[in-house]
Symmetry: C2
């Protein structure tokens, strides 16, 4: 299977990265980020510390990559939820938001940030310095929604995606009711915009 798109090198590199990132995910289940050393991380993944540095550059470089990796993970699930909604605006927003909040409740990084006292500066990484994550998530979400509603203006879809991400992060950091309740409210709030963007006749 050498004819596949990714070369062996890139595939191996990808395997290395996910192995490291997944090990970090495991370690984050019972220790907070500042309690995890690069040595522990390397040995948990079965590679040398040097390899870890070659791949991610520095400690902060790794944690930034991990945030994106975590976002990627979550977005994949949310995209599946969107695809399963069958195109209905209200159902799409509701299920996507609900799935997101449900995941965040058990996400190692999220619970670590929310439960701890933020002795590390991790909270800022998704708020005041959360530009990269927000942009990435908004883009991915916009693609997923745009694929499902091709008749909607890309401008409207991008707008909906961006603010949806902001609301999602806000509700993840400070829950307003259960995921079910929150998702229902957000869906009720944003469905009129979505329907108008889709040209649905509000009979």
């Amino acid at each position: 299977m050498a004819s596949a798109r990714p070369t062996y090198q890139s595939a191996a590199k990808q395997l290395l990265r996910t192995s490291l990132l997944e090990s970090a995910r495991q370690l984050l289940r019972d220790r907070s980020w500042p309690e995890i050393t690069m040595s522990q991380l390397a040995s948990a993944a079965g590679v040398s510390r040097q390899t870890l540095y070659n791949e991610f550059g520095s400690r902060t470089g790794f944690v930034q990559a991990y945030v994106l990796y975590d976002a990627d993970r979550i977005l994949t699930v949310v995209e599946e939820a969107i695809a399963s909604a069958g195109g209905d605006p209200a159902a799409t927003i509701d299920i996507a938001f609900r799935r997101f909040l449900e995941i965040m409740e058990v996400d190692p990084l999220a619970v670590s940030v929310l439960s701890g006292t933020d002795e590390d500066g991790l909270l800022a990484l998704v708020t005041t310095r959360g530009g990269p994550v927000l942009a990435y998530a908004a883009h991915r979400l916009g693609e997923a929604i745009g694929a499902m509603w091709p008749q909607a203006a890309t401008e409207d879809v991008a707008l909906l995606a961006r603010e949806l991400v902001r609301l999602a992060l806000s509700h993840a950091m400070l829950p307003g009711g259960s995921p079910d309740e929150a998702a229902a409210r957000i869906a009720a709030l944003l469905t009129p915009f979505a329907e108008r963007a889709l040209g649905v006749d509000p009979s």
Copy 2:
């Protein structure tokens, strides 16, 4: 009932509180919160340190009160902006959001939180532990909107107010474009919901 006007005692107490809080606002213009001591605060307001403690209990008690005071200040301006909009849904949301973001750009506490490295835990006070502020702001905003749109269901107004506050805080912490641009986008996003709640015929 006691009296229509506040008693001398309550008025004096109120004067004392606002004097202290306003002094803190001044001090926050060139120092961050952890750099301000209770002694400095008391003498800046011209009262004894003991009086400060009698009124606010503790240092954290004061900063929490200050956050509410600051929110109150900002909300007053936003309420005026809402009243000036004349009831039109799009204009109301647009001007309220824009005024809020403009204020936050020069608010001493806000710039202190956004520029600093959050060595104090102040960022958490408007995110993961921001329940009280969010509830207070959502309530005030709901009242203001409800007074302008009496025909809308209180449920819809409360929903709009709550999520509007979340979006506002998100945009204040991590700006997405200028206040004008952000406000225009939020207005475009939420106007359909507001119009539907108002029973406006979308001709």
